[in-house]
């Protein structure tokens, strides 16, 4: 299975990191160094991130639908990625806080030798993790399907291009160039979610009842790109830790060679550290004057800038981390917000759908991404009569296949009477009570559609309830949309209310 290597890697890394955490705790107790203890907690947070990713991978393997989770658990990986990204961001904030604390109260490092060794050990562990996860997160893997369809390993571009070539259902894995796309922007800007469902579906499934079949094929492919998001989160976490180790080692090394600590014997003044007994100026002066009167030379502890090196490096690291985490955060958040996937142009899709033969109007088109390459679409399609409906439905399904959307639910609406004026109206309007509930329906579709009925953008059911098109043209501030919309449908509301409230 595709996920096996993932699990193995995660387990391996988890055990390594946990072992190292134990080592660090023990060392910190022996040397009673607080810095080591706090670093060990960083390791612990790393372990937790890995656990989260592991749990997500385990869950996402169960892609079959259960009674409670009808979509399966595949979204777990997106969630895992989001949790890791949020965790990383919170960690960055904590590091900033600690760095600021260090700025105001610089501290020397004790036991530099131990710190160097432990730091190097941590760095090795993290570099090992980086290699493991970088290798996986970067490549795709290929497998051949029953349809005589194979593709090369690690070549993600192939998969992406397959979607783009719609006319030639090339089921072969031959490397294709990026050609003109059917859909406007087919190529996603960042390469992560570039695995698209394979086109062999087109050849195998030309029947209508295809939905269940496509699930199995999508199983393997959908998992890849979804798990990529998850692995990316893990990779970033390990990267952050590696950077931290680098900083620790660099800092300790510079400290050993540049810093001149106070020698054991003899008086010494440490100008960088604000110790409490030096609080009062006159005590300070007295002490210094007493010391200067003696014949011994006073050593002062080494250059102060060394103490500020640590927090500075930390802040630089935080910026690097935030910069790399932000795309992951954004991407997983967008998926969870039910956005239209990047590669799909709604306007274009709408127009093309409208141009399909037999389709009179399209309402309530919603396209969203479940996880990875699984895209789900729902729409109301208005057509002439039930007898011709099945052909229209077939064409629509084919159309969606061409766009790369395989899980579609199309609700037909049949024209009740042949009046042109109502062609864009929703036959099965979702009643009047849905005004407050249709959180998607308060969009104000552009006003110019008021006159341009048949070919305009879909007008949500909500606005259609009153017949007069003049109302649609009003520009409303976003806040009052719900109220306005509700007010418009007031006319028909009265009777329905009792029905709803008896629920």
């Amino acid at each position: 299975m595709a996920c096996e290597p993932d699990r193995v890697r995660l387990l391996c890394m988890m055990s390594l990191t946990f072992g190292f955490f134990i080592v660090e705790v023990v060392v910190s107790r022996i040397t009673s160094s607080l810095a080591m203890l706090s670093d060990s907690f960083h390791m612990l947070s790393d372990v937790i991130a890995l656990v989260v990713a592991f749990v997500a991978v385990r869950f996402a393997e169960k892609t079959q639908s259960t009674s409670k989770n009808t979509f399966g658990w595949i979204r777990a990986e997106v969630m895992g990625a989001l949790v890791n990204a949020v965790f990383l961001t919170a960690l960055c904030f904590t590091i900033i806080l600690e760095a600021i604390e260090r700025f105001t109260e610089p501290r020397e490092i004790e036991n530099t030798r131990v710190v160097i060794w432990v730091g190097v050990g941590g760095l090795l562990v993290n570099l090992f993790g980086l290699c493991m996860f970088h290798g996986h997160a970067g490549s795709g893997h290929g497998h051949s399907h029953g349809g005589g369809h194979g593709h090369s390993h690690g070549n993600k571009k192939n998969k992406r291009n397959k979607i783009c070539k719609a006319e030639t259902p090339s089921g072969n894995g031959s490397s294709v160039e990026e050609t003109n796309n059917l859909v406007g922007n087919c190529n996603s800007p960042n390469g992560v979610n570039s695995d698209r469902p394979e086109r062999h579906d087109l050849m195998q499934e030309n029947s209508l009842h295809i939905h269940s079949n496509t699930q199995y094929d999508e199983l393997d492919h959908g998992d890849e790109s979804a798990s990529q998001l998850n692995m990316r989160g893990v990779f970033l976490h390990v990267l952050g830790d590696a950077l931290g180790s680098v900083i620790v080692v660099v800092n300790a090394i510079i400290f050993t060679f540049v810093w001149q600590p106070c020698p054991e014997g003899g008086p010494c003044v440490n100008p960088c550290v604000d110790s409490h007994c030096m609080d009062h100026n006159h005590i300070n002066h007295t002490l210094v004057s007493v010391l200067t009167n003696s014949t011994q030379a006073i050593t002062s502890a080494g250059p102060c800038w060394v103490l500020y090196l640590d927090p500075t490096l930390c802040i630089i690291m935080v910026f690097i981390l935030l910069y790399t985490t932000y795309p992951l955060l954004k991407e997983s958040a967008l998926i969870l917000l039910q956005t239209v996937p990047k590669q799909i142009d709604m306007q274009l899709l709408n127009e093309k759908l409208r141009n399909v033969e037999g389709v009179l109007a399209v309402h309530e088109l919603h396209i969203w991404q479940l996880a990875g390459s699984r895209i789900i679409a729902t729409a109301h399609i208005k057509c002439h009569d039930p007898t011709s409906y099945m052909d229209v439905a077939k064409r629509i399904k084919d159309f969606f296949h061409n766009e790369g959307i395989h899980a579609t639910t199309i609700q037909p609406e049949f024209v009740t009477f042949n009046s042109e004026s109502r062609i864009s109206l929703c036959e099965l309007s979702c009643r009047t009570q849905c005004a407050p509930k249709l959180c998607c329906g308060n969009g104000d579709k552009p006003e110019k559609k008021a006159t341009d009925k048949a070919t305009g953008l879909p007008i949500p059911c909500l606005e259609i309830i009153d017949e007069s098109p003049e109302h649609r043209g009003r520009e409303q501030p976003p806040v009052e949309v719900e109220n306005q919309v509700v007010a418009r449908s007031d006319g028909e509301v009265v009777i329905q209310r009792e029905v709803e409230s008896s629920l």
Partner: protein
Amino acid sequence: MLPLSIKDDEYKPAKFNLLFKMSGWFRSILSDKTSRNLFFFLCLNLSFAFVELLYGIWSNSLGLISDSFHMFFDCTALLAGLAASVISRWRSNDAFSYGYVRAEVLAGFVNGLFLIFTAFFIFSEGVERALEPPDVHHERLLPVSIAGLIVNLIGIFVFQHGGHGHSHGDEGHGHSHSLFNGGVNHGQSHGGHGHGHESKHGHSHDHGHSHGHDHGHGHSHEDNHCHDDPCSPPAKGPNKQILQGIFLHIVADTLGSVGVIISALLMQNYNLMIADPICSMIISLLIGVSVVPLLRESIGILMQRTPPSLDHVLPECYQRVQQLQGVYNLQEPHFWTLCTDVNIGTLKLLVAPDADSRWILSQTHNIFTQAGVRQLYVQIDVAAM
């Protein structure tokens, strides 16, 4: 004829006026009661955090400085909640066909995550302090923490006052630790009193919480009857997640202040140095436990789980649909929650060739509307016979 004056203004593209945008945001914030409360509480918290920071710098106390940073951290949570409540009201567009309403679920989830992280952080600090107790200046910490407690009490009062929302089917009734119950069933305050409507479940909850506010009035409401009340826009229900997250955050902060006060008293009177870390650890555990319901709910929504409130109703509906004349089979039902109280469903029906599709469609819609699913997409597949 040459024009007498040349005015280029109408041909220039509209300038990106930041001030205009911000004033737009302000208007949006101040219009809704939830976001208004959030905004004022955010300002209160921010100013308090600044005061604490300045005082800490002036008196050179590291404890106060770190505590003020902690408050800043909380302010970011409030900011996230505020941003979510504004964003979720934006209209849908081409990229977001459902609009931005999921933002509030996401905000609740992220808040919950931050809270767990905070709990973990406090726990680790508690462990560190237990192993190596630093010397804490209590005489400075005590008045500040009392002031912080007052600020948080205000917050609890503001976000608790006025009502309880619906409770989900199996959650939240009758927990023994009443402290955190308020978070689960927290709803949104109405503009005024005097609604005659009762909730679906018909009871008013009495949630005790730590500071003795007892709200006995059950303002439970359903979103159905909101349209005749201009002061309570229907977006109330959707803010439930955000408010829950914010409320838990405030409770966590309050607990922190209470813990500091208790440990300070213990240390002053009984000289128990170990009290500080132990209090921290207990508090972090409590915070962690309290977040679990919020996390479970938002994870369920984000994972496209069947809405818990529909769990019992759906099998009946399936049966009823299958008994309609002409329907052979009901396939692939998917029901999920878009945001609080908005459920969406899709299903496929296999029907006989001679069945009346229109009638089947409208009946199906009826059945599911009664169950509370208002957006339904029913695909009709005619069996080839």
